[in-house]
Symmetry: C2
């Protein structure tokens, strides 16, 4: 079984999660047979280890981790690879596939450029 984790920063503000939940809902419709989970670096639950453990327990043998960050800062360059290595050490029978940050994807950049003009003259 395939799993996919949307890994976001987290916030004290509950509204922060709304776009990530919207993306997860779309993914569940597009891949109804997959396990799709959210996970957060801090301030929100579950964290990456807990989300990953749930997917392993559900029987996932490959899990794609998609960083829901706009670019490569310290969290994507250092924190996330370290967390992913912990998953590889702890769950050796699972393939953990770490993606580039979502904001660096050319189609997302294009969509952001169009969206930025929404409501402008």
């Amino acid at each position: 079984m395939n799993g996919l984790i949307l890994f976001a920063h987290g916030s004290r503000d509950a509204a922060w999660a709304a776009p990530f939940e919207a993306v997860a809902a779309r993914l569940r419709r597009q891949r109804p047979q997959w396990c799709v989970s959210l996970a957060y670096l801090e301030l929100m639950q579950p964290d990456l280890a807990a989300a990953a453990a749930s997917l392993v327990q559900a029987g996932c043998t490959r899990v794609d981790i998609v960083p829901m960050f706009l670019g490569t800062g310290g969290h994507v360059r250092r924190d996330l690879p370290a967390l992913a290595q912990q998953l590889r050490d702890r769950h050796r029978s699972v393939d953990w596939m770490l993606h580039a940050p979502i904001g660096e994807h050319p189609d997302v950049i294009e969509a952001m450029a169009l969206a930025a003009l929404d409501g402008t003259p």
Copy 2:
């Protein structure tokens, strides 16, 4: 003249700016007669006040401010409105139009959902 500011968080990592610079480059192609600027909350330059002052000096009478944040956390809910109010107080002849965070735009959510599946089986 119209101005547009892409307002992002900032990072100690220079690579952080790459997607925002890519969005700005697209906007400059789509609106060659506009002044398009980046601005950062912290750790990168220029800050919002400096970027805004440059656009006012260039003759902009309306400036759209687009939060390059994925969702509504404390920076978008509190920090940015306070900064925008300072701009309104300081530059009263300019219309400052504050947008919703880019990650909440339906087309960006859709693009992120598609991009998350890139490279998956």
